[in-house]
């Protein structure tokens, strides 16, 4: 009973905080409203006994939001908390799409004929979930993640306008490197 109430309250918090993202008028508030929404979802997942997944959601999302706030502020460029600004664009269409998506998904949740539990959950539900989701594709996923990291690194390297020739000179023998902001290792 208490768990049920807790679960539904968290669900409510998640939805309300998610809506608040578009309602509030400051970037910091929008960002952290989203973080709050994710935290509520993470806690809900704890109720589903997927403890690992739940805690990881909280961990990753809070960290992500902290970093996102940096980028958001960097790109949008406003003084702290000063300028009240709308968080929505093209609000009518967006609202229609959002409500439509929500209703479709909610209808899916309600209409799907969920199977009843036949046996007790396994001791390691996280592992069971992982195998159920990934199954034979585990190797593919394991390969994809380093590829993704490599892509990110390559993308940054290609985007950076400073090359090693800028740092070390044309013959790559200029030491210490000429950096606008020297690091702490002395490369």
């Amino acid at each position: 009973m208490v768990a049920d109430i807790g679960f539904w309250v968290l669900g409510l918090v998640a939805v309300m905080a998610g809506a608040a993202v578009f309602y509030v008028n400051s970037m910091a508030r929008a960002t952290y409203a989203l973080a709050l929404s994710f935290i509520a979802v993470g806690l809900q997942v704890l109720f589903l006994q997927q403890n690992y997944v739940g805690v990881v959601i909280i961990l990753m999302m809070v960290m992500e939001m902290a970093v996102m706030a940096v980028y958001m502020v960097m790109f949008m460029g406003m003084n702290p908390a000063l300028m009240p600004m709308s968080m929505v664009h093209d609000s009518k269409k967006a609202l229609a799409v959002a409500i439509g998506t929500f209703l479709t998904l909610a209808a899916g949740v309600l209409l799907v004929d969920w199977p009843a539990r036949r046996v007790a959950p396994p001791a390691e539900v996280t592992r069971a979930l992982g195998e159920e989701l990934m199954g034979p594709k585990m190797l593919v996923m394991a390969v994809i993640s380093p590829v993704m990291v490599a892509t990110i690194v390559a993308g940054v390297v290609l985007a950076a306008h400073r090359t090693r020739y800028d740092r070390f000179g044309d013959d790559l023998n200029h030491r210490p490197a000429d950096d606008p902001q020297p690091g702490g290792v002395g490369r």
Binding site: M76, G77, N79, L82, M83, H161, P180
Partner: protein, 456 residues
């Protein structure tokens, strides 16, 4: 209740205001504060006592007044004259801190933020009428966004504010992705300076310590200029500009000083910040016109032979404190006080040697200060800076400790003020503060106000 008030004043925090030339008084107050187990405040918010060391002349007095407004009650201001015993002043401060009734009255009679903002607006424009006046016509530069009624130009009547964004007018729309209508970019600059003007630390307007009212502070501040939408609360929004990587980044105008711990007395550095990198700076000495140079106790009979070494040690304290090494800073302070008290020379020398060894031993300190703003011989010569500033910040620190050993050392000759902006441009705030502390400033020589833009 009384016992509570008494315990609350057992460890008051004191914010020091140093009048140029009064470093000895400040050192004495510092000593007195620490010996009685009190603490030195780093910002007005943290302070219970505002200790003004020396008699501030008009501009500094005005800045001090604004700092006073930012302090939350209970608050006490004490003025410590040249040779007055600091401990007595602090006793008096403690006694006045206890008067709960008085503080209640004090907080009731505070002016609201809006009044402060509007009251300070006019003065700022007067005192800032130098520098890049020629940008006044750039108003439309910042206005390339789809705003409605804009007003510009007005804000250009003062120094460095705004002209950065004027030059690069195409940034305006990048920063304005909200669907507000009427914006006044150039106008905003004006209020920005007003907001930071004379605050010891910028970025916000005056504070209503009594709560409430912050929201509409801008109304008073705006005067009749219009364009207030770009300056909520009377504070301008940052404008875009290219950063050192060639990307667009906001430029925020912030004043450093004059009331800032470990900062040369009377110095005000107006900085254009992108992130925390200083892209442009302008230095000024408050009360430069009214200041009688070579007067005051530095040249008086009390100065004595120890002046040079003690002054150097005083700057060493600042540098070590800014580097975040409290133990070493406290030790340097002890050595400074021993020298100032005219203690036994031999024992002072031993203490200084110990300090020097401690500093030289620290690898972390070396790692942290190495490579910050290296200055070569030619560069020093070109700028007319003394040759002992050779090397990077770490070298300069060791040099300071070396020179402090010369017990016949006199105060160094004044450093030309207009060189400062050049030395800190392109550095982040932390590095800039370290560099300024490492310059071992004994006195600043006011000169033609000089603008420095980074080459980027």
């Amino acid at each position: 209740m009384d016992a509570f008030a008494r315990s609350a004043t057992r460890r008051a925090h004191v914010l020091l205001v140093e009048v140029p030339g009064q470093w000895r008084t400040r050192a004495a107050v510092e000593r007195a504060v620490l010996t009685r187990g009190w603490s030195l405040a780093m910002s007005p918010a943290d302070a219970d006592v505002l200790a003004v060391c020396g008699r501030p002349r008009p501009q500094l007095e005005k800045a001090t007044g604004l700092v006073w407004h930012q302090m939350s009650g209970p608050r006490v201001r004490v003025d410590v004259a040249d040779d007055a015993p600091a401990a007595e002043a602090l006793d008096q401060a403690q006694a006045r801190l206890l008067g709960t009734e008085h503080h209640r009255h004090d907080s009731d009679s505070r002016p609201v933020a809006a009044h402060l903002l509007s009251a300070n607006k006019g003065h700022d424009q007067e005192s800032l009428n130098h520098g890049s006046m020629d940008h006044g016509d750039g108003d439309d530069g910042t206005m390339r966004h789809d705003g409605g009624d804009e007003s510009g130009g007005e804000g250009m009547d003062h120094g460095s504010m705004g002209h950065e964004s004027m030059d690069r007018g195409d940034e305006g729309d990048g920063t304005m992705r909200h669907d507000g209508g009427d914006e006044g970019g150039g106008e905003g600059m004006d209020h920005g300076s007003m907001g930071h003007e004379s605050m010891d630390h910028g970025g916000h307007g005056g504070h209503g310590g009594h709560g409430g009212n912050g929201g509409n502070g801008g109304n008073g501040g705006n005067g009749g200029n219009g364009g207030m939408e770009m300056a909520p609360g009377g504070i301008a929004l940052a404008e875009g500009g290219e950063d050192r990587d060639g990307l667009e980044m906001d430029v925020l105008y912030v004043r450093l000083g004059p009331v800032l711990p470990h900062w040369p007395a009377g110095l005000v550095l107006r900085c254009a910040l992108q992130g925390d990198v200083i892209t442009e700076a302008q230095a000024e000495i408050l009360d430069a016109e009214t200041q009688q140079r070579h007067a005051g106790p530095t040249a008086g009979p009390a100065a004595g032979l120890a002046a040079g070494p003690a002054r150097i040690l005083d700057n060493t304290v600042s540098l070590l404190a800014l580097a975040g090494w409290e133990d070493a800073a406290a030790e340097a302070r002890r050595v400074r006080d021993a020298v100032l008290e005219g203690g036994d020379r031999a024992s002072c020398a031993v203490k200084l040697d110990r300090l020097r060894a401690k500093v030289a031993r620290s690898r972390v300190l070396r790692w942290s200060l190495r490579g910050i703003r290296p200055l070569g011989h030619e560069e020093l010569e070109r700028h007319g800076l003394p040759p002992h500033l050779d090397g990077d910040t770490y070298d300069r620190l060791l040099g300071m400790l070396e020179r402090a050993g010369d017990s016949n050392g006199k105060l160094a000759s004044p450093l030309p003020l207009d060189k400062l902006p050049h030395l800190v441009t392109g550095l982040d705030l932390a590095a800039a503060r370290l560099v300024i502390a490492s310059l071992d400033v004994h006195e600043l020589q006011p000169g033609h106000v000089h603008d420095e833009t980074s080459g980027a």
